[in-house]
Symmetry: C2
Subunit: 296 residues, 2 copies
């Protein structure tokens, strides 16, 4: 196993432990709700957002214990959004991470409540653990996550997505949708990781932010490519869904070759943003390559 793969496994394992610790036990009343919350979050997913938080934290010498909570908070937001997104009024999907979706495994009311409570849990984690030396920085972190998750971020992107089904989006409109829907939370993961450590200068922070924006878009471009090319077993979720739902995708707009070129361009731009950091940004650079080259 490469040293990078070993690092990934370690972060994924720390993330799993932290998520398990911050979520109430499955038998805690109401048990069906807590069981569903744990089902939605634990034992699954690549943990891309926690990986980004940990890698970004290496830029600022952040304590891994802080990074584990910051990464877990972002992952809780991500997990809640999947639970609600899979529900019948949205994507009505039955498979997620190779398992039945929450509303299929439990019921729709439980999926609704579990998603709601997972969102709250993210803010509980961010407010109840010590994540920064300066408490003002930590309060700022709450604001970063809230901004990224809300109607000017992830929820807004999901809304644009929802209302665009059956319409043709222009490339700028498609980018705006993804910047909000996926990019905002990926950016928050990077920024939260950075803020767990020593302060960066404004110019440095700007570079990290640019890296994060490139990664957010690259992640989505690759998602669209995989949705077209991979099969359901490899993805662990229903493949070919976006095309079947007539949803706008980078592949539909740019063609497969164009989408792959776009991903490569974003990867190069991300690397360029990191270059001045030298070896401190090694993990982030490796992670950028992994995100673009992944096959699920």
């Amino acid at each position: 196993m490469s040293e990078f793969k070993a690092w990934m496994r370690d972060v994924q394992s720390r993330t799993e432990d932290t998520l398990s610790a911050v979520l109430p036990p499955a038998n805690h009343l109401p048990a069906r709700l807590h069981d569903a919350m744990r089902y939605a979050v634990l034992d699954g997913g690549k943990r891309v957002r926690p990986l980004l938080a940990f890698a970004a934290g290496e830029l600022t010498g952040a304590d891994p214990r802080r990074l584990a909570y910051a990464g877990a908070a972002v992952e809780l937001i991500h997990a809640y959004s999947l639970v609600h997104d899979d529900m019948p009024p949205m994507d009505n999907d039955v498979l997620r991470r190779g398992k039945p979706t929450v509303h299929v495994q439990y019921d729709e009311a439980t999926a609704l409540l579990a998603g709601d409570a997972l969102q709250t849990a993210a803010f509980e984690v961010l407010s109840q653990q010590v994540l920064a030396d300066d408490v003002a920085v930590q309060l700022k972190m709450v604001g970063i996550l809230a901004r990224a998750a809300g109607s000017n971020g992830m929820c807004g992107g999901q809304g644009i997505d929802l209302y665009s089904v059956g319409h043709t989006l222009s490339l700028p409109a498609l980018e705006m949708m993804h910047i909000l829907k996926t990019g905002a939370l990926i950016r928050a993961a990077v920024l939260l990781g950075v803020h767990c450590g020593q302060p960066l200068g404004d110019a440095e922070l700007e570079r990290v932010d640019h890296f994060a924006k490139c990664m957010g878009l690259a992640f989505q471009v690759v998602d669209d490519i995989l949705d077209e090319e991979a099969d359901t077993a490899t993805l662990g979720k229903t493949a070919g869904k976006d095309a079947a739902n007539n949803k706008p995708t980078y592949v539909a707009l740019l063609g497969m070759a164009g989408a792959k070129q776009k991903a490569a361009e974003l990867q190069a731009e991300a690397h360029a943003a990191l270059a001045p950091f030298g070896d401190r940004a090694r993990r982030l650079a490796e992670l950028a390559d992994y995100i673009v080259a992944r096959n699920n």
Copy 2:
């Protein structure tokens, strides 16, 4: 108009203005989502939680501008919970505050997203405005609201409610459900209001907290009485719903006379908790009387 009524009107009007200011404009993209968020929150409701925050803030000399944000944050959580609670997998209700519910007026996907984004907005408000002299106190306020809203608070209470339909709950189990479902957020409203001002001593804080717990239960007992006695037009929501759904209520458990006695006892206990504060607690005492005597 009594001086108390004038104060209520003033707080309700400040709350409305603050909620309108913190929510994105209705034409902000995605417009349908933001329109639904504003529809769910604005121009309705008694604003009991902001009233409690303002009244509690009088105990600690809190700046009304801070109280307006703190009250708005709690109200955003309350509003999101109503949107999701009214959806078909939960209560499947069509009427709220005398208007069609959000999923009826818009659609279920929009109601799901709007509720999600309203919850986020609450934490955005709490993190992005100055609400306390000491930023550590403000971070604590984020934690208080998160704890009150999540699976150990409001969402947990909704879960117990959901899974108890058709079952007979004991009085202690019914109380636990309401302490979580309604009481937790009412308590958070009071504590957030207090924390906007000068610090209280531990014993004083304990008294306020006891007051808040009494109020949370009293509010629910009166809700159950009104659900049975009032008509739909007065309530602005479907009356007799809980009994029809075979949901456990205080009236079902204690009888109408017993429920009214329970409300009176909680009112007296709330007054007793406030007594040592003297005139500083006048608004809270008046509000306790209003909450028990209200007819909608």
